[in-house]
Symmetry: C2
Subunit: 193 residues, 2 copies
DNA sequence: CGCGACGTTGATTTGCCTCAACGATTGTGG
DNA sequence: CCACAATCGTTGAGGCAAATCAACGTCGCG
């Protein structure tokens, strides 16, 4: 099981001693998903934190009209979960599925709490992780309430260049909060400049 | 100095032993703000985490047109800071000011790190705090990309009922991402139902 | 081959903004 | 205590950004 990339990712933020690493390794499970496979389906309780080794996952919401809205894409070395559901142990209104064949390491909630207790370093790691995610979400809220669709599209290109030619346009549209048709028109408009 | 309300707020999340409480108390400073006074001004580095004892603060962004966009309101028992600036120690693009005369307890970044090291419980407290803030931001992004202005206004009423008759309409408008005029029209429309 | 996923384009509609004007209330200095 | 300004909310006319709806082209794949 390849936990090396996960450990490398963690030690960029906090040092980890050997017991911590082996305790972590003992609690991780490898899981493989094919394209379109659910990792979390709306209505189920989210019970794991998931670390992506390869591939691409999306966390999204389906509104009452059936339209999908992407909250997050997770690629190599990214974490994803419905933290709300994970905490409250209530059914999730969000779903997670694979945009590509994907390999993840996942850890259950109880095991994570175990880790927190045994090794406070993990409290810190997930605090820093969550703070960074929070900062990102804050910037996104700002974008949404203060910019045009074109600006948000350009900001997406800049922030996630590795995703632009990897995921379909319709996913980018659902992330920045416009229709796919309109993203197409934005592109046309940009290319004619 | 009234740190009781802060301690009470913390122990709802994690138990705190006496040394932790006294170490915390030693690092807190009381500060009073009048209405309209800046706690953080755009361009300055955010150096403190702030806990509101009484009053109301707002965290907001001013765009290139001069329009203000509220990211957060913090009332009694709320925390507020520009976490991005606090972490990176770079000038903030956000501002914080007082909508009412306000009393806060604040703690500096270095002191906070001290606390983290001495008492891992604080790592956990701020992890949980940030996770909850993150969940809130995520829901807000969802609202922004999937609902109409009227839905967002109704959601605001439901989520922050204590703010509705406390802060001016223009602030609510800047929070949900529409013009004040349009919020006024939403109200008219709702009352005629 | 035929079908589903994906992207593009155009015509029309609509949600929300812009700009401008106008009361009501509050606060403040003379 | 009054006069005046500033703040706050409302209303209306007109305009624009983005949605909706519909049609069509292309590709990859069972």
């Amino acid at each position: 099981m390849d936990i090396q990339s996960l450990v490398q990712h963690i030690v960029k933020i906090i040092p980890l001693d050997d017991p911590a690493v082996s305790d972590l390794a003992a609690k991780l499970a490898l899981k493989k998903l094919r394209r379109r496979q659910y990792l979390l389906q709306e209505g189920d309780v989210c019970r794991h934190y998931n670390f992506v080794l390869s591939g691409c996952l999306r966390l999204y919401f389906v509104d009452e009209k059936g339209t999908e809205h992407a909250l997050q894409f997770a690629t190599e070395n990214g974490w994803v979960a419905d933290i709300g559901s994970l905490h409250s142990e209530t059914p999730s209104r969000l779903s997670i599925d694979a945009l590509e064949p994907t390999e993840i390491l996942r850890i259950g909630k109880a095991d994570l709490i175990d880790l927190y207790v045994k090794h406070p370093a993990f409290d810190r790691y997930f605090r820093v992780l969550t703070e960074n995610a929070f900062i990102g979400m804050q910037q996104r809220v700002l974008q949404n309430i203060s910019s045009t669709a074109e600006d948000r599209y350009l900001a997406f290109l800049e922030k996630y260049p590795h995703l632009v030619n990897r995921i379909p346009l319709v996913q980018i549209a659902s992330f920045i909060g416009v229709t796919p048709e309109f993203v197409s028109k934005i592109r046309k408009n940009l290319s004619s400049k």
